[in-house]
């Protein structure tokens, strides 16, 4: 039996796919850019646009003009957040002067094109793993990298060269194996922004070939291996290993 929902607030649902938020790094500073596709929503032109960046108790609010003239009203610098990588964003369309919310999109994860090798769709958290250093979990079919809690803040482990040459290749392999276990057409058609689409897109760019759509496990395993090897070569993981273990330059 289907459940009927009543929308008493008349608030519209602003789809994540109609919002694009990307972090932009310049030296030590991180700011963000926003693109909104609002034409199909029929909002009043003078409705106010606001973007909120938040993490735990911290929140920063940025004015983005109006529906008819969306533009940042000032700097979009994300200073004052200890960990920009874990920020989430919220876009609000507000009727003024009443302050009524016309629409909202919440929990938007920004794209982070310059944020290092860790895939931006991968969430990270620490937990007690009783001796295991890390593991990949899936919560609601979404990948979470879990890192042993007693190591301290996971950010320092993520930044370490050991993590890069030991963990990242296997992480990519596991994600590709999981993504390819699902029906490829469903993955691609369901949502271009799903983690499965993102990891397959990355592997396609690395290998220069599309993922095999046949059920031959050997062919799939070889394609995954070629993607992992290309990833390792691109990021110089072998050189990092030598530099880290034997000392000297990474070059």
């Amino acid at each position: 039996m289907s459940v009927r929902h009543f929308n008493y607030t008349h608030r519209k649902r602003l789809l994540h796919s109609d919002t694009s938020i990307a972090l932009s790094r310049r030296e030590d500073e991180v700011s963000f850019d926003v693109q909104l596709r609002l034409a199909s929503y029929d909002f009043p032109g003078d409705a106010r646009l606001v973007v909120e960046a938040y993490r735990q108790t911290s929140l920063k609010r940025f004015g983005f003009g109006t529906v008819s003239n969306p533009r940042p009203m000032g700097s979009t610098l994300l200073d004052g957040f200890p960990d920009v990588e874990s920020l989430l964003f919220r876009v609000k369309v507000i009727d003024l002067p009443s302050g009524k919310l016309l629409a909202e999109a919440d929990r938007i994860k920004p794209a982070d094109p310059d944020g290092g090798e860790r895939p931006s769709f991968l969430r990270v958290r620490s937990d007690h793993l009783s001796g295991e250093a890390w593991k990949l979990e899936f919560e609601d079919d979404y990948p979470i990298l879990v890192i042993e809690k007693s190591y301290g803040p996971y950010q320092s482990l993520l930044a370490s060269p050991h993590f890069r040459w030991l963990v990242l290749p296997q992480l990519l392999r596991s994600l590709l194996e999981r993504a390819l276990r699902e029906d490829l057409d469903d993955v691609v058609e369901e949502s271009a922004t799903s983690w499965q689409s993102a990891v397959l897109r990355q592997a396609r760019l690395l290998t220069g070939t599309t993922p095999p759509d046949e059920g031959d496990e050997q062919v799939i395993a070889e394609w995954i291996t070629s993607a992992v090897r290309a990833f390792s070569r691109r990021h110089g993981l072998a050189q990092r290993y030598h530099a880290d273990v034997f000392g000297g330059s990474e070059e």
């Binding site: 938040y54 108790t57 200890p82 960990d83 302050g99 009524k100 301290g152 803040p153």
Partner: protein
């Protein structure tokens, strides 16, 4: 004395120490453990200005934010080792000894920070209030009501407000909690604020989560927000 940060072995020792306290052992602040170079290392911040005790959670958060300012916007802000070390250093404030020397020790998250778990992060007795105040540093008086009370007792108002991210991040909503529940003459919470009845913080938090679906509070005046609340229920708090 400099601030220090436990390493994984130090954090493990802290867990064991808390377990011993929880089992009823009467133990003082573990200075030997805190100064052991094998278990912790110094950070480049002097904690001389923190003092030895705190009158209230507000005062504690204010001093922490002032003295630890150089590192609170860095990755150390979420350091499990640092906050656990501080919690043991201020054990007498966070878990005062009873007459027989034993202490009431609560959930582990009150002393050992869980930085990646929002639902438990705010519970840390030092890091939680410190972070809440820092988020509202430009108008820190708005945190007076939710940071009222002794350092060892977070209180119902803090629990209700800080556990709801949409509420605790909003300066407007914290301003509202102060307006409703803070008694400026007694410098404490109004009677009934921490109860479970009509007009209490628990009711307010539940209502705000509902209203947050419909309204953007950020630019609303206090009076406009109060007008959205059920009048009879909140009248005794809103009237002064």
């Amino acid at each position: 004395m400099n601030l220090r940060e436990f390493n994984p072995d130090g954090i493990q020792e802290a867990h064991s120490f808390l377990a011993a306290l929880r089992s009823g052992e009467a133990l003082p602040v573990p200075f030997e453990l805190l100064q052991d170079d094998d278990l912790s290392s110094p950070l480049p911040v002097s904690i001389k200005g923190l003092g030895e005790s705190f009158e209230s959670r507000f005062e504690m958060a204010l001093r922490m934010n002032t003295v630890l300012d150089p590192i609170l916007d860095s990755a150390h802000a979420d350091s499990v080792g640092m906050w656990t070390w501080l919690a043991l250093l201020y054990l007498d404030a966070l878990a005062p000894p009873r007459a027989d020397g034993s202490r009431k020790i609560g959930d582990e998250a009150l002393y050992v920070l869980e930085p990646d778990n929002w639902r438990r992060y705010y519970r840390h007795l030092l890091a939680g209030p410190c972070r809440v105040m820092r988020a509202h540093w430009n108008e820190l008086h708005v945190t007076q009501a939710i940071l009222a009370g002794k350092p060892s007792v977070p209180g119902e108002l803090y629990e209700q407000i800080a556990s709801r991210q949409e509420v605790v991040t909003s300066p407007a909503l914290l301003r509202l909690t102060r307006r409703l529940y803070w008694d400026t003459s007694s410098k404490g919470l109004k009677r009934g604020a921490a109860s479970k009845g009509a007009g209490s913080a628990r009711r307010l938090a539940a209502l705000l989560l509902q209203l947050d679906l419909t309204w953007d509070f950020a630019e609303m005046t206090d009076d406009a927000m109060i007008n959205l609340l059920p009048k009879r229920e909140f009248a005794r708090f809103a009237s002064g």
